[in-house]
Symmetry: C2
Subunit: 528 residues, 2 copies
Amino acid sequence: MDFSGALQAWRQLLGNEHVLVDPTSLAQVQTATFATTQQVPAILQPATTTEVQACVRIANHYKTPLYPISRGKNWGYGSRVPVQDGCVVLDLGRMNRIVDYNEELAYVTVEPGVTQQQIYDFLHDQGSHLFLGMTGGPPDSSLIGNTLERGVGKGPYGERFAHVCGLEVVLPTGHCIHTGFGRFAQAKTTRLHRWGLGPAVDGLFTQSNLGIVTEMTFWLLPKARHLQVFAYAIHDVEKLPLLVDALRPLLQQGLIQTTFTINNDYRTFSYVQQYPWTEAIGQTPLPPSLRAHLRQKWDTGLWFGEGAIYAASAAQAHSVRTLIHEALAPLVDLLIFFDETMAALPREALQALIPGIDIDEALAWYSQHPQRGVPTQAALPMTYWRKTDPMPAQPDPERDRCGFLWCAPAIPFDGQEICAAVTLIEETVFAHGYEPSLALQCVSPRTIYITTAIVYDRTVAGEDARAQACHDDLLARLLQAGYVPYRLGIQSMGQLPPAQDDTVAFLQTLKQALDPNQILAPGRYTGS
Amino acid sequence: MDFSGALQAWRQLLGNEHVLVDPTSLAQVQTATFATTQQVPAILQPATTTEVQACVRIANHYKTPLYPISRGKNWGYGSRVPVQDGCVVLDLGRMNRIVDYNEELAYVTVEPGVTQQQIYDFLHDQGSHLFLGMTGGPPDSSLIGNTLERGVGKGPYGERFAHVCGLEVVLPTGHCIHTGFGRFAQAKTTRLHRWGLGPAVDGLFTQSNLGIVTEMTFWLLPKARHLQVFAYAIHDVEKLPLLVDALRPLLQQGLIQTTFTINNDYRTFSYVQQYPWTEAIGQTPLPPSLRAHLRQKWDTGLWFGEGAIYAASAAQAHSVRTLIHEALAPLVDLLIFFDETMAALPREALQALIPGIDIDEALAWYSQHPQRGVPTQAALPMTYWRKTDPMPAQPDPERDRCGFLWCAPAIPFDGQEICAAVTLIEETVFAHGYEPSLALQCVSPRTIYITTAIVYDRTVAGEDARAQACHDDLLARLLQAGYVPYRLGIQSMGQLPPAQDDTVAFLQTLKQALDPNQILAPGRYTGS
């Protein structure tokens, strides 16, 4: 490795202003929402695919490893911090162009720096009748970055990676490829078709260190002419398996086409308030009596779920609503549907329909619902849950030393399995002194991700280590039970159980063939 | 290469009875539905994944190339014939176990020898409420084989490869991997989740020569409680772009959730009769007057399409039907919906509803509709279209020297593009003296495959060469226009235009890394 030679070459390529080595910038990318020790010697900010290729070639020449980030908002999984020490961060944030957009065929093609808010604003400005489902992540997070981690948004295309195509990828050698039909300059279906001709390789570049994705096409959906959103809650833990088993057939039959979440009470609390330090007299985790009190205060169930019906007519919306109502009403403690007819009612009439519900909140919830593709900051406060200072006007969890760790196992969409996993998670997280903040992220009729947040305050001495121990214990127990996470934090890449087959050697063969100098994001996912 | 050494080792492994070298067997696998010259020195018939691994290791040791087939029904694309001369055929037909099945989570796990009919019968015997969408291919074709070529079935999971997971793959070195979560012995979501953790690699093994898939899980759908099937026709070519542009929003909005086809008149004729040699006085291609006559005789439009509504209640079915009717009725010349209420009517009442339609045919069409997951032989007669002898009771297109070539470009789901492609195909195929037998296979809201069949009689001197020239001319013109096929025949692997990027070198790097001795299906898709 010849770092100073590489630095000189990168400066010549990008200009001094796009090769950052100042302590402030470096400290930022070295900071996650949990403890890390990795040092970053420099940050590169290329503006084009050609510059990315040149950066990569320099890295190969001088054997200096690179770690690409898009917007770096991978909170709870490592933010911008490289898996291994000594990697130069390749910040793709300047590549923020919306490259293509087609209203009839319903797609948008973007670079890695394009954010959720940016695409929402763009479609709004175009007067588009289309939408893209957003994640619960921050509005200024990258669409491509999230999708490459196989993140989940709202809406019928919520499983984002299943609804994209046409990746442009810079390989670790600096070569450039286009997935699907994109290798053929004249192909008319590059942004319309996923597989192309020959091996379908785009999956290779998700959760991996085999390439740098510099462009991706996202498919869009028409806004529903008749959108119904609905919410439901249960108060008793006994009802959870019944609820899960009642939802599964609704997804199988396509009556619920969107991804959706069911939050437990801790998760709900952390959206709307910080830890009640005063009432708890400083004690953690949250005492049961206080938990019950907060549940009453916020009028939330033990589990609170949502969903949406995307219908093209009032009759279709009504027919689907009837079926969902029939399936859920007998077993839930609350079930509310909200549609445009209700939104148009006089306030008194609406209040009569939904007694006890805050009208303004309900109307705002309906008109700005995440199921419409509206980016939301609603989840951001949860990172400040255990802080004693209030969340500032310009929140920044890394700067403010919010402690935040995700662990998100994939569980069969089955009531008994979900309950077993929830019990395992609750017991483990409680035992370590934290609140098990859970959401059941229903991504398909077959799998639910339980996104588990371990939230703490990094300014409290010892908490970094205690929270990480909790996370690692939880991960180990989940793995042992067969509940493998759908995604990993940078600290957990080496914590997987051994494979029963030759997969690890296979991935290492791919890595060695595509990245002979091991310059791209070493240690990230592929085991080398 | 040491073929005799390899043969001895394979015989020791599999027994003499599963290493075929008799001329009859070899002649069969050397015969496609078009001219080929490749010789096959032997056929291996392993019964287990372990035997497949051992076969592959022997092939590596003796440097003898293998060409895997499942059921070998890749008609029109090369059947069982290897891309290159001298390959030993690895026939996986004996691996025909249904490995797993789950009614609640809705999946079935199978080996490569499992056929469409087998899975239909299995689900029927289980009293399952689930179905798997079938292709138009023969009932005894392989599910895995078709899916690896990214074939298209009916139903909401019609794009088969998007709805499978958990591949078991024997690599060209004999190593074995499991995609998704399958590498972890204890994982509970191996058959429920597509991507797993880390790079998603299953796409690598489709349309490729990078591995031998020995197991795959297919996701199943619940049978619709209220199934409506519908059909529509247009008589004028001017209406085709209007029809395509009216269908697209129906797919985008999820009102039509299934894949479906729109057949031109030639395609329809070839389902129900052979070439009218007598009326045509031996002349080809079909004279326009005779074409018009046949269209009247069979009461089919210029284009005849189908579709289905999978509903969970009569009200839902009705609401969706209303929307589809509103969109299509103003521009088509025929539009018929058929549901269980109609099927239950007295014959006279039903006939009054659908005047001019054969009641028995309509009832049979509804109860055995391919959109229900019923395998069909309906398309098989098209391979005998240009034969002068009638199709025998036990049809076998290869044995009977049916000439049959597919060319299936991917076209944007756009009326103007579809018309331009149809015109290009019609002009080219006519110019070579064949009937352009077309189906618009609508696989997504963004792409239509135009499956073009060139049908001829291999027993007529010169026809093999003329038909291939037609195919190759068509392929070249389609490529030039930007309409790249979604799939290739064995004869066309070298006919692609150059890539604009480094994709070919990238695929060759993968191939070299995974198959250093180049023993697996050389020449198939990856350009090496």
